[in-house]
Symmetry: C2
Subunit: 148 residues, 2 copies
DNA sequence: GATAGTTGTAATATATCACGTTACAGCATT
DNA sequence: AATGCTGTAACGTGATATATTACAACTATC
């Protein structure tokens, strides 16, 4: 399994919104051209970012504006915004019908739950350490590095 | 998205193999009854564990024997054994066609790759800290705790 | 050594989900 | 008023996870 590409698409979009912020007509079609997906995908991802309070948009009007400075938007914020993992059930899909008439089946869930949560937490804590400023800075540096 | 239930099924199976090790007829049907899935699923999961060198089995003969002590089998070992995440592409599904004619599209991948790997690594390191002995101990303790 | 039990694995079915695509109402811009 | 854009619904499609049937090859037991 893999975490949905909506996550990397969202990071790509925010990076592009910053990079092209002084250019006009940064609409969903333009962004879709950069990301390489359908414009509807871009609009739905931006919709999720808006719901999460990360960007502001105006219906009928091009583009989107970041709601916070880049260094205050973390990978974790985006990961939550685009529903990367099931909110209710968590990162791990537990088999759904362990047999309650078996002592192991009856107790394995509670023996594992805390540890599965710890693993997911370790991942999420690492995501909180990474900001969009990090990615934008590195992207810009890579672009400058191309010119030789 | 979620990590396949084959992971928790594998942990359940190993726990049951230990718990019921002195009982005969611990075949795939018995295990399937405890886990709550089809016996063929049990046999394929055990097959993955065998390929990874975690258990020994004998074709035509019931059950499986652990190849290592429980405290030397980590969640990470099982996670790798059952192919929980795509080996080649990693935990994150990167959108596949960023536009190479766009400076952002051309550079976003390398600006993100190292950070995505760090997140996956944080998760995997946490998995290496948890052993099957931990889960088996807690499961047995929970079973004993029931008796009152 | 014949019989019954079991594994390993292929083949097929089904459900779910990610992503693509079309369509269009409603709002903004000119 | 005309044009462009967003937000969102609806539907299509391919990939994947899990279930299920079937059976050859092997083991255990009598």
């Amino acid at each position: 399994m893999q975490i949905t590409s909506r996550f990397t698409i969202a990071v790509h979009i925010i990076t592009a919104l910053d990079y092209f912020k002084d250019r006009d007509r940064v609409n969903s079609e333009f962004l879709a051209g950069s990301v390489g997906v359908n414009p509807v995908i871009v609009r739905t991802v931006i919709g999720k970012l808006r719901e999460a309070g990360l960007v502001h948009t105006l219906k009928g009007s091009s583009g989107a504006e970041l709601a916070k400075p880049l260094d205050q938007i973390t990978f974790y914020d985006i990961y939550k915004a685009v529903d990367s993992v099931n909110e209710d059930e968590g990162l791990f899909h537990f088999h759904e019908q362990p047999n309650t008439e078996c002592p192991v089946g009856r107790n394995i869930h509670k023996a594992m739950d805390g540890r599965l949560a710890a693993i997911q937490n370790a991942m999420e804590e690492e995501m909180k350490r990474i900001t969009l400023a990090d990615v934008v800075d590195d992207t810009k540096a890579a672009i400058l590095g191309e010119e030789k």
